[in-house]
Symmetry: C2
Subunit: 403 residues, 2 copies
């Protein structure tokens, strides 16, 4: 099940980037589960990783390799997270990198590993190594759609999109893909995203752009930031277009397009969240600080009572109000708070809105997409968060995942 997600749009190849996939038998037989992304020599890269203290072996190894040299290959497997695997997990991740390095003639540190899937099982390294030649064989510039399929775990649909950005000296492309998973507490899901561009971008800019874009996209579908054991988001710039970011105007346009692409991918993860039947936007305005707007938005977005009400299509404003009340704003003036479903005012002055009609509110909550809007009446800070409802299907998926 998913909400508002269709087939993949046309994906623009990014000069300097080739992708190949293979069926390595990690996840299940005859299913693509191994992906190799090749980056042209000289490609610059920025990356953000999970903040979970139990970060997975591939995260450790990727960080280490990134500190030594520029990457040439990203190796992604699904079906196994190589997390909670101790010293052996680290060695397994390194073995995979060494194998790619040997087959391609690059330094081992130029290979970054990424894994997603079950936690705590040893990585089937032999099967991965056996799949590598097929991956290399398959490398092609138009491999995005196949790769977007091959990185999925419990996702039901692939997620990828492209942008073209017109800059002072010419136009550049940005193409990216992502995978998600459980979404009720997305900080626990493994989110992987790979975004590439053929623009010429300096390291400092690249890093700043990625962090800014992630902050209002992928980090707006999580509680504590990137906190699963494997989360990673990579932005690579091949410079193959020879088009630089020539000034502040270019930088702004590029960041805007990148942010827009990240937001589409992040929302796609929510739209395909486990058991989702409703796509919920929580838009909190009127905070005295961004921190308090965020706290309120996340408290609503993670309230199982709000989420089960959303599943039922029940405009239970009392639960939203109670969530706001416990979000940690000590001096909240409850009589100044207003709550909307889409454009329909449902609560004000500490209670139900004047003229509130249950059937009007229910009509909004019954939509496939609904916005819970909140004005805290304290200032101008706003935060938007995207989330899912909480359904029987969510429980089923997560109760049966390992059995």
């Amino acid at each position: 099940m998913s909400v508002g997600l269709g087939p993949l749009p046309a994906l623009a190849p990014v000069p300097g980037v080739r992708l190949g996939v293979a069926c390595a038998g990690i996840k299940k037989p005859d299913h693509p589960d191994l992906t190799l992304i090749e980056l042209a020599p000289g490609t610059r890269i920025a990356a953000v990783f999970t903040r979970n203290r139990f970060c997975a072996a591939p995260v450790h190894v990727a960080r280490e390799h990134l500190s030594r040299t520029l990457p040439r290959y990203l190796l992604v497997n699904t079906g196994n997270a190589n997390a909670g695997t101790g010293a052996r997990g680290l060695e397994d991740a390194r073995r995979c990198c060494r194998a790619v390095a040997e087959l391609t003639g690059v330094d081992v540190a130029a290979v970054l590993p990424f894994s997603t899937g079950v936690i705590g099982e040893p990585l089937p390294v032999d099967r991965m190594l056996a799949g590598l030649p097929a991956c290399l064989e398959d490398l092609r510039e138009d491999g995005w759609a196949a790769a977007a399929e091959a990185i999925l775990t419990t996702d039901t649909l692939p997620k990828a999109c492209s942008r073209t950005v017109t800059l002072d000296k010419g136009s550049v492309r940005i193409t990216g893909m992502a995978k998600g998973s459980g979404m009720i507490r997305p900080d626990m899901a493994t989110m992987l995203a790979f975004i590439t561009t053929d623009a010429v971008v300096h390291d400092v800019d690249l890093d700043a752009f990625l962090r800014q874009a992630v902050q209002v996209s992928f980090n707006r579908i999580t509680v504590d930031g990137d906190t699963s054991t494997n989360d990673a988001c990579v932005l690579a710039a091949t410079a193959a277009s020879n088009v630089p970011l020539a000034g502040d105007g270019d930088r702004e346009r590029f960041l805007e397009a990148l942010t827009d692409l990240c937001r589409e991918l992040a929302q796609a993860i929510v739209r395909d969240g486990e058991g989702v039947t409703r796509f919920i936007t929580v838009a909190v305005d009127g905070g005295a600080t961004e921190a308090e707007s965020e706290a309120v938005a996340y408290t609503i977005a993670h309230s199982p009572l709000v989420k089960t009400a959303a599943f039922a299509g029940d405009p239970n404003w009392g639960r939203i109000l109670a969530a706001i009340g416990r979000a940690g704003i000590d001096d909240l003036a409850v009589e100044s708070v207003r709550i909307w479903l889409d454009d329909y005012l449902i609560a004000e002055h500490g209670g139900r809105a004047t003229g509130y009609r249950e059937e009007e509110a229910a009509r909004r909550m019954a939509g496939e997409e609904v916005t819970i809007g909140v004005d805290l009446g304290r200032g101008t800070a706003r935060t938007t968060v995207w989330t899912t409802d909480l359904s029987y299907e969510y429980v089923r998926i997560n109760a049966e995942y390992r059995s």
Copy 2:
């Protein structure tokens, strides 16, 4: 459904306390839903209330009345929380208090109102007033069992127990009752608890005892402390036994018995949590500070992934490990962390324990009660939290509550 809860034990009447119930038609017809607790003149009282900023009208009124005089009557209705009801809600709560005051000849401030049930609907005051004479008529010292039934909402079983404490100058009784509700995020459930004793206890002691007992009982089944809109816990001492707390030994014995009683009531709330199929104790030891032990315990206890795994009887230690890793301890040495299911070690050194056998772990997780034990290996601070699994039934109850 409930786990490990039987019929009510024998409840010792507390001299100076009488309880009466009535069917006022608030919740459903011919079902006791109105309870009056009468306290003898001179009864001392301590109370803790929700910290939710949207606290309900009765909470406002109870706090105000408590600041003016000693209470003589506690009026409790179920079926309607009188929360999110604005100015009218306050007036409704006051009207009910006035009515009790007029019928009994006490000051209006000597009446405290408590409500639990649906948020945002006007309190059916007329029905409550019509039920009051029957409540008064019904007042009796042995009314505990009936009252414990009458205060329930979605609870399936009543929760009450008694303790006798032998002090230097004689023995005293403590009898209490509680109600719970949704338990996955218990900070949203309405928890009401009424505890009385015939001991002679000074105000300062009474308040300190209640806070200390609540901290390790009712506050160990919630995230942010008492944060629903209506939560309240009251401790009343009638002094009818004429037995004082004579010294530190007495104080210690009394506090121990009170804490034990509160813990039994708190656990009973979890055992009867919405949709519960498994009673989970999360015991975190080895923290550098109590705050970090608490953070880890609550992160595990509120992880939907851990809770759905528990529902499935799946010993998914990877999810427990991931929850620990995102609990906010920045300098956590993951290789020092150990995890048990009951007495069975399942994870250490950042991965699966040596000799781990899935069927042994599964046997523990399949029990009606299971303890998730964690040693953080950083110090001696420990915290224990009680919670439920996350089942289809939880979703059903909370998706259908208002329909």
